[in-house]
């Protein structure tokens, strides 16, 4: 049984059908990517999985259905979504943002140790821990959003466009971190417009187009696929 199993997920909102019955699954320890153009429905799919958008179809996580469960309960079950646009709390300090990531945890000592780990991974955040998060640069905010999600010690990490709006150097930085987190055994679903990057770091991938999954397979095969090369890799 996969850690996350999505069957026939469809989502309507604002009068449009954003997701038209997609299937995907992720096994424990995998880094899987979901690529597609802007507006393909990738973010909607993620929001549906974590219960932020009402949806039809089935979502099973660790063997249990997530259908109808509120977002906070899904988060408590170990799913962490780093939302598109980072979703940091701009008027909370960096340290307070991280504390929000650990909101559900009661193991104070381990939480303190995790702060230090996050600050080691992202020294920039350590320097700015007392500052309002809204004053951080885009890249720092993305680091904070990822660090905050890790503070909850999730079992499945969903990343929505972590490279969006960042300078190339910062993108590389973020991607090195994502790979490091994956190497430690974290299961990750990576949603990206930047197909090139996403296919490089992932083992498997799905291609989404107009709300449906049109291709799926090992990332190396997708990267070699003429259709993918033409549509997403600019060749």
């Amino acid at each position: 049984m996969s850690l996350l199993q999505v069957e026939g997920l469809h989502i309507h909102y604002g009068g449009i059908q954003a997701v038209r019955g997609i299937d995907l699954k992720i096994d424990e320890g995998e880094l899987v990517c979901l690529i597609g153009a802007n507006g393909a429905g990738k973010s909607s799919a993620l929001k549906g999985i974590v219960g932020l958008l009402p949806h039809g179809g089935q979502v099973h996580y660790a063997g249990a259905s997530l259908k109808g469960r509120p977002t906070h309960a899904i988060a408590a079950a170990g799913l962490a979504l780093v939302p598109e646009g980072r979703g940091i709390f701009a008027r909370l300090t960096v340290a307070e943002n991280l504390a929000m990531g650990a909101y559900l945890r009661r193991d104070a000592d381990a939480v303190r140790a995790d702060y230090e780990r996050i600050y080691q991974t992202f020294p920039r955040l350590a320097e700015r821990r007392g500052q309002l998060a809204g004053l951080l640069s885009g890249g720092e905010q993305q680091m904070l959003a990822i660090g905050r999600a890790l503070m909850g010690r999730p079992r499945l990490l969903l990343l929505d466009e972590p490279s969006m709006g960042l300078a190339p150097l910062m993108v590389r930085n973020i991607y090195e971190t994502i790979q490091a987190v994956a190497r430690e055994g974290m299961t990750i679903l990576l949603v990206e417009q930047n197909a090139h990057l996403a296919l490089q770091v992932s083992s498997r991938g799905y291609v989404m187009e107009s709300g449906a999954i049109t291709l799926a397979g090992p990332s190396a095969e997708l990267a070699a696929d003429p259709q993918v090369r033409a549509a997403y890799l600019g060749e």
Partner: protein, 309 residues
């Protein structure tokens, strides 16, 4: 000079009551962008329930010390209002959480009329006197008088406000409230039960309102089913003056409005050459308020509201 200091003291006393009520408006607005127009009525209910309990206690145990009787009233009124605040959110606002903004606003106005009428049915239309149970003494400072009651009102308000500030800034619940105010979706992703946090906000605001209701009726010596309207309007204005959604702003706005009103009452006669009497204090206060908002539309400590929408 004596008048100035006297009115400053009177204004601070009144203002600290406004501030307590204003906090309820601003906390709910901060988290839901909803103006809870029924909040003034929660204040009224606090006064009415406390007076009912005080009256009953005086009947049952006439030998109890006055302070204990009033405390008994407060100890019942506060939880009753907390329950009322919880019920208001649960029944009137939560079902409309995702409705267009005008719907909960109209509900709020309707609810405030309902609460007024409930109070009128229970306690009647007449003014209810606050019995003379509290110590009468007064002190003299710089030629002005401050009564024990005034001192007590200010001390209790300041203590409660410091407690609230600590809760919001330093506790897990407070952090969750601030996070929820910034983004309900992201707060939920952190595992915050947003509905519970919103309920907690209403409950805390209603507790402050109940305290304010008892204090204002003790201060003026009476209560009335309609008293929540003007008090709520003033406290809401104070919250806007400070910058709605901003907790420090509500405290500042409340105190300022109280002081402006008191100084207006003290000086309006001289300023208008005897043409306007001190009963024009509300006009004066709202005139100043409008003037401030012309130059600072987002309030003294507020952020630009438009950019948050």
């Amino acid at each position: 000079m004596d008048i100035f200091i006297q009115q400053l003291i009177n204004g601070l006393v009144l203002g600290s009551i406004y501030a307590l009520v204003a906090l309820g408006y601003t906390m709910v607005y901060g988290i839901l962008e909803l103006i809870n127009f029924a909040h003034g009525e929660v204040t009224m209910m606090g006064a009415m329930v406390a007076l009912a309990v005080i009256g009953a206690l005086m009947g049952v145990a006439p030998d109890l010390p006055g302070v204990v009787v009033v405390l008994g009233g407060v100890l019942i009124a506060v939880p009753v209002c907390m329950l009322l605040g919880f019920g208001i959110e649960r029944l009137a606002y939560r079902p409309l959480r995702n409705a267009p903004r005008l719907a909960p606003l109209i509900t709020a106005i309707g609810l405030s009329i309902v609460l007024q009428n409930v109070a009128m049915l229970i306690w009647g239309r007449q003014y209810i006197a606050f019995p003379p149970l509290l110590p009468k003494g007064q002190f003299e400072i710089l030629g002005a008088h401050i009564s024990v009651l005034q001192l007590f009102i200010v001390a209790l308000s300041v203590t409660v406000m410091l407690g609230l500030w600590f809760t919001v800034q330093k506790t897990r619940l407070g952090r969750a409230m601030r996070a929820t105010a910034q983004s309900r979706e992201v707060a939920a992703l952190m595992g915050v039960n947003v509905n519970s946090v919103i309920a907690a906000t209403f409950i805390i605001g209603s507790a402050l309102a109940a305290l304010a209701g008892v204090m204002v009726s003790a201060y003026y010596g009476l209560a009335h089913y309609y008293m929540g309207f003007l008090l709520g309007l003033k406290a809401f204005s104070a919250a806007v003056l400070g910058g709605i959604g901003n907790i420090a702003g509500a405290m500042l706005g409340g105190l300022l409005l109280g002081v402006i009103e008191a100084l207006g009452a003290g000086y309006i006669g001289d300023l208008s050459g005897g043409f306007l009497g001190s009963h024009y204090q509300d006009v004066f206060a709202f005139f100043i308020l409008s003037l401030v908002l012309v130059f600072r539309p987002s309030g003294l400590l507020g952020e630009r509201v438009a950019s948050r929408a």
